[in-house]
């Protein structure tokens, strides 16, 4: 088996490590579709530009399809071929329609993997996300021109806070793993603010790979949390391990099998007693919405995968969105930007010094304000279900 990661006809040799990969199971769904680069050509295009020499109605400003003779490109005009194949529109529609048919998807049936958290993606969400006031708004528009967008973020934030019983929420993380990072950085900032340099994060062996990877990304050393015979956290062993070097414990609750950690509150109490903080991986929050509030269990930070719990589409691997709810202790350290209200207006606070509530923010995690396109979808879903419906979803998830 050869693996060629860089692209079509690159001269990369057979890749030794790639050989470890095998193509599993049956290929019944496979109808071979040629590669884009085999169908298309550099001379073909599916996009027209207005090249009429006379100005068109659309306001073309002249013959501008050749690099303008008096350009201002610092002498760096790209002359060598780029090698990008083009398709006419019908060819493109066919290529991507045919390719799509080699995927299995929720729209075709239940999912063999991750089915507990993969849910139907309502089409209303798609419609809402495409409303021009959400889809065609620039992140740096003056704030008076984006009050509706800020209100969406605020409304969603209120729901997330109330459903979790937490104190605040950071909306900018771009996916679950990014949310974990956000939570751990809040924890680290809070500990450092009190002059407490702890170095270890405890993670159960059964945790999703992002948990230990994130802890390392945040500059922590990772240690396993012992498990008991039932596969749950061994509270006594945990207590024995806790100490002044443990910054945080990461618990997935409900865990990947959908089971609730019955001793959660006792775990939190023990961690807090030892001066640490509790991070909860909320990827499976969907199974307890409306039934239990993490805020009642002593949790300090938890990310919520909007693409799992609140029905934004998985898209074959993203985009996601991972808002992080935080306890009162962590709220001042939450990242920039965040939303405040002032005199009835919504205010996007982007500067470190500004804002009353997050004076000690650990900083910025992403260029802009998070996954707006996911917020509109999640809010539409949450409003559709309402508090009663979300609880029903949790009950149905547990039933299944």
């Amino acid at each position: 088996m050869t693996v060629n990661a860089s692209g079509w006809r690159a001269s990369a040799p057979a890749n030794a490590e790639g050989q470890a990969q095998t193509v599993t199971g049956n290929r019944a769904l496979m109808l071979e579709e040629p590669l884009l680069f085999e169908i298309g050509s550099v001379d073909q295009t599916g996009v027209d530009f207005d090249d009429h020499s006379a100005p068109t109605q659309a306001g073309a400003v002249g013959a501008e399809l050749r690099p303008p003779p008096e350009h201002r490109l610092a002498g760096l005009v790209r002359n060598r071929p780029i090698g990008l194949a083009g398709l006419s529109e019908p060819e493109a529609v066919r290529h991507y329609t045919r390719l799509s048919r080699q995927n299995y998807a929720i729209d075709l049936g239940l999912f063999p993997l991750g089915s507990c958290t993969m849910k139907h993606n309502p089409r209303l969400n798609e419609k809402v996300a495409r409303m021009p006031g959400f889809a065609d708004v620039h992140p740096l528009q003056p704030q008076e021109t984006v009050q509706g967008a800020l209100e969406v973020i605020d409304q969603l934030a209120v729901w997330l806070i109330k459903l979790t019983g937490m104190h605040g929420v950071a909306m900018s993380p771009k996916a679950g793993a990014h949310g974990e990072l956000c939570g751990l950085l809040c924890i680290r900032a809070a500990l450092e603010a009190r002059g407490d340099k702890r170095e270890v994060v405890l993670v159960p062996e059964s945790a999703h790979g992002t948990n230990p990877a994130t802890a390392a990304f945040a500059g922590y050393r990772v240690e396993n949390i012992p498990a008991n015979a039932a596969g749950r956290v061994d509270l006594e062993a945990l207590k024995a391990r806790l100490g002044p070097d443990v910054a945080a414990v990461m618990i997935t609750n409900p865990n990947t099998c959908g089971l609730f950690e019955p001793e959660m509150k006792a775990i939190s109490d023990a961690v807090h007693a030892a001066g640490g903080l509790v991070y909860c991986d909320g990827a499976n929050f969907n199974a307890i919405v409306g039934k239990v509030r993490p805020g009642d269990l002593g949790i300090d930070a938890m990310h919520i995968n909007l693409h799992k719990t609140f029905s934004t589409p998985h898209g074959g691997g993203g985009p996601g969105s991972g808002p992080v709810v935080v306890s009162k202790a962590l709220a001042p350290f939450a990242p920039l930007p965040f939303i405040d209200r002032r005199d009835g207006d919504f205010l996007l606070v982007e500067e470190e010094s500004a804002g009353d509530h997050h004076g000690q923010t650990f900083g910025r995690m992403t260029a802009f304000h998070g996954q707006m396109g996911m917020f509109t979808r999640a809010l539409a879903y949450i409003l559709s279900h309402g508090a009663d419906g979300l609880k029903q979803v949790a009950e149905d998830a547990v039933l299944n």
Binding site: N4, L36, D43, A74, V146, A213, H314, G318
Partner: protein, 452 residues
Amino acid sequence: MRYLPLSDADRVEMLCVVGAGSIDELFRDVPAEARLNGPIHGLPNHQSELAVERHMARLSRKNMVAGDVPFFLGCGAYRHHIPASVDHLIQRGEYLTSYTPYQPEIAQGTLQMLFEFQTQVARLYGCEVANASMYDGSTAMWEAILMAHRVTRRNKAVISSGVHPHYVSVATTMAKFTGDALATAQPELTTDTDAAALIESIDGDTSAVVVQYPDILGRITDLTPIAEAAHAAGALLIAVVTEPVALGLIKSPGEMGADIVVGEGQSIGVGLQFGGPYVGLFATREKFVRQMPGRLAGETVDAEGKRGFVLTLSTREQHIRREKATSNICTNSGLCALAFSIHMSLLGEKGLRQLASLNHARACEAAKRLSGIPGVTLVNDSFFNEFTLKLPVEARPAVHALVEKGVLGGVSLGRLYPGVDALANGLVVAVTETVTAEDIAAFEAALGEVVQ
């Protein structure tokens, strides 16, 4: 509850099957004192689709829509025309609602698409390999700095003053925790970039030099001398591209010697969406591929000799390597990568070059017109579709005054660099193919009044 396939009858039946008397028995692991009894205060119950659509439409109408007014914002997010077929295709349920392609036999569509996407990104950037996407340009840049750290085993990166300040913020935030040392600076309203100073600052401890191309003010600089200086010192050159359309007209960073090229892909196929989701692009040299973060789709041949695609080199990733992974990223920007790839296939090399030429021509036209306003000067000597004006007044209030006149007239450096007096009069103006001659005229007139 229209999204729930179970009826009440189904539920009773299922409870019987599992032998539970009531649904609450299934929550028996939850200690009684932790259970919520009754509804959460202040949260409304379910609503019809009609009611929700109305609610969201009302919020949507509170925003000023870019397409409704003369619009000139850029600085990391650009308004381009996206062919209707792109949005149609990405909404096919087989793409929209499919899971992460861990099981290749039911995800060949996504995997082949990612493979094609990677190839497009690699060629656009002039690199050998590209990954299956990052969250956005800013997180891609930080991942590139970390990767340079791993490759060079050094932890001192020099970031050009021309890098988008939000990207720099992300890196400085993260570096606080990882212990990387970042040298940063603020840009100056000059024709020249800081290339010379950058070259100056490279030393034997430098892991990477990070340069944005074109930079935050729109200036274009030749990366070759910087690459040579970095390589001479054993450091890597990381190039950051926030406007990929530029690469249809100007040399790729890869051609000029960049070792890692990262950037934002939003311009191609992905709408503005108030900042996200976008799609981070990440490409590098083949020899560094094992240090690359993120997913990678690879071509393979199965036992029967048929071509297929798989996620490859997964031993770099968190789900295999856990705390030793090259990154914690898992869910990335799959569907945005698809949108990028479809739009890029529709453009092809010919269309991309035409699009880039059109952008540049419009920007040249706008720069000429706007810099003709008394008191307004053009900072740039070189630019692609974005340039910086120096106004005779502070730009931040000018932008608000322009809104009053119905023009979204660029990004003020006062917003990007609050409190930096030397930049307060700077206004960054982006001009794409969606800008008409009438838009430019309206902007010219409004700005003329505002700066009077």
